[in-house]
Amino acid sequence: MIFFGLYLSLIFLSLGVGLYPGLKKLYPDSDPLLVVNNFLFYWFIGDLIFRFFFQKLPVMDVKPLLTLPIKKNKIINYVLGKSTLSFFNFLPLFAIVPFSAILLYKQYEVSVVLTWASILIIAILIINFLNFIIESKSAETELNFLPILIISSVLLGLDYFNLVSFSQLTGNAVNAITAAPYLISIPIAILVLIYSLNFKSLKQKLSLDEALKVKETAVNSSNLEWTKKFGSAAPFLQLDLRLIWRNKRTKSSVWMLVMGLLYGLIFYPNPSPTFSGEFFYIFIGIFITGIFLMNFGQFIPAWDSKYYKLLMSQNIKYKEYLKSKYVLMAASCIIMFVLSIPYVYFGWKILLVHFVAMIYNIGVNTYVLMYAGSYNRKAIELDKKAAFNYQGTGAVQWLVGIPLMLVPMLIFALLNWLVSFEVATATIAILGIIGIVLHNKTINLIVKKYKSAKHEMISAFDQSN
């Protein structure tokens, strides 16, 4: 995280330093400041989206403070004030300060530069507080990221097709304010308004009965009798299906499937040879048929972390527990393959490669994920929002991605290049089939691994609960 922060700071710093000379070179006839102002709109939108996904609402456990002699207004002001100290607000300064310095050096009027910098800082704060409003409004739903994506694409679309040129409007507004600094009262007023909106909504949430109110939804139960076909794994399969359908975190990963399914459309219609080589078929094949497998499998057994002690002391054989996970993952691969059949439109080879990728996923990647799962030590918060939620992610999740994707890609690419497409495809299929044939042996091996990690997992999950 620190490296990422440093990296971003460096990028913004070089942006701030290089912007003026860069723009002078690109548009020698226009004033770089005016050009920058015309681009501010895109920055604002980008900043808002970026924050939506990565900046968290300022969290504070206020319940213990409520009974202490502290004014509620003070608590709220403190929480909101603290949020202005976020790294996201300081990041743009790395660009704004050097750029302003260069402007001053280039003999711009001091008042113009100061006004310009103040406008940007106010804008950053507006975005900061606007993000909280958007986030708290949309935090309840699974598809929480859709509204902001739709709104910003509509805005960008209107701008792009010149129906309403927001970039021009933003540019003109900033120009007008720098020309007449007293107009800065307008953005300040907006900031005050947004701040007070936040203040109001927080204050509403700050009474005890609001905080203690438990949202209750009537349960929609289905008895899932059809799972009985899977014998002793059936109760766990039912449990997993309910787990997926009844918790925020898992439910939105179901929506990720839809997005993943469309992933091939980025590559296959692309006529450029870099993206349409056979090499990409296997990448997309593994990805599409395995997207649920990877999303779900990487957190085995952390999904059950909240009640892991129950599972470990109940009358349960580890093998059946893991087998039900396997059945679920394998079934998802088959379903995803069937759904990806329309890609045959782009060529029969694609369908063939998707098919062998499915076999590989079922026969190899399922085991790799379950094995890696025995190293999971982080509990999962099931009721937190899901998309772009990295809670519970550790080094295991990043490391396991390498063998999952890279190994089949390398094997395929190498054989396809050295021998032939047929041999490459067949090899991937055979690897998968070997895995399926050796199912019992492999599962037993994984069970052993889980057994030896049992106590460590229990105590780790217990601590993070």
Partner: protein
């Protein structure tokens, strides 16, 4: 039924449990009392193989618990809310435990009939998730689930905490009949001296991980315990 010998658990330099020898015969109702940090839950966790002992061993019906899983079919426990599955309804949870213990839906339905009084119409058929139930109702569901499938060893940590007075009385009745009827061995821990003396025929007092008293319950037991804890 249960035999602990030389069992100890140490975290770093603190020893949280150190029991020379403890034997609980079949069909006994066994109570564990002690202040916070006395080692009650640690003992239960060791018995359920949820933590590894630093030394010694526990056998449950001659099965050494950290060597074999064969004690699981006849042992059931409710230690804390991590024994509940929050996103299930109570019925679904009971059915799930039932499956694990070889009882089908109909078996469970008739099994649940006897708890109608305890459930007090707040648990069954409410279409609520366990995570949305009150603490007391969660506890009721957890305790009842631990009784599914007639286990021979039942372990309940603080079963009376969070329960309303009526349920406390009913639960005491229930626990007494358990050891009478099918000679189940019942292990409970409690901070409430009155409840344990009423339910248990034997009470062991733990202090800082060691057994300081082992009492066969009689008329004077409550007074004796109160004297010990107020000293």
């Amino acid at each position: 039924m249960i035999q602990a010998s030389q069992i100890s658990k140490t975290y770093g330099k603190t020893t949280v449990l150190n029991i020379e020898s403890l034997e609980i015969p079949k069909g006994q109702s066994f109570g564990l009392v002690g202040n916070n940090g006395a080692g009650k839950t640690t003992f239960f966790n060791l018995l359920l193989d949820l933590i590894n002992p630093t030394s010694g061993q526990i056998t449950n019906n001659k099965v050494q618990v950290n060597k074999s899983e064969d004690w699981k079919p006849f042992t059931a426990a409710f230690i804390d809310e991590s024994f509940l599955i929050g996103y299930l309804t109570p019925e679904e949870y009971f059915y799930f435990i039932g499956e694990l213990r070889g009882m089908n839906k109909a078996d469970i339905d008739s099994f649940l009939k006897q708890f109608e009084e305890i459930f007090n119409d707040e648990i069954i058929g409410k279409k609520k998730y366990l995570r949305d139930l009150s603490k007391g109702n969660q506890k009721k569901a957890g305790i009842v689930a631990a009784l599914i499938g007639n286990p021979e060893v039942i372990i309940l940590d603080e079963p009376f905490a969070n329960l309303d007075p009526t349920t406390q009385i009913r639960l005491k009745q229930l626990l007494k009949t358990l050891t009478e009827n099918n000679s189940a061995t019942v292990l409970i821990s409690s901070h409430d001296l009155g409840h344990v003396t009423e339910v248990c025929e034997r009470i062991v007092v733990l202090d800082k991980g060691e057994v300081v008293n082992d009492i066969k319950t009689s008329e004077e037991t409550l007074k004796e315990l109160e004297a010990y804890f107020s000293a």
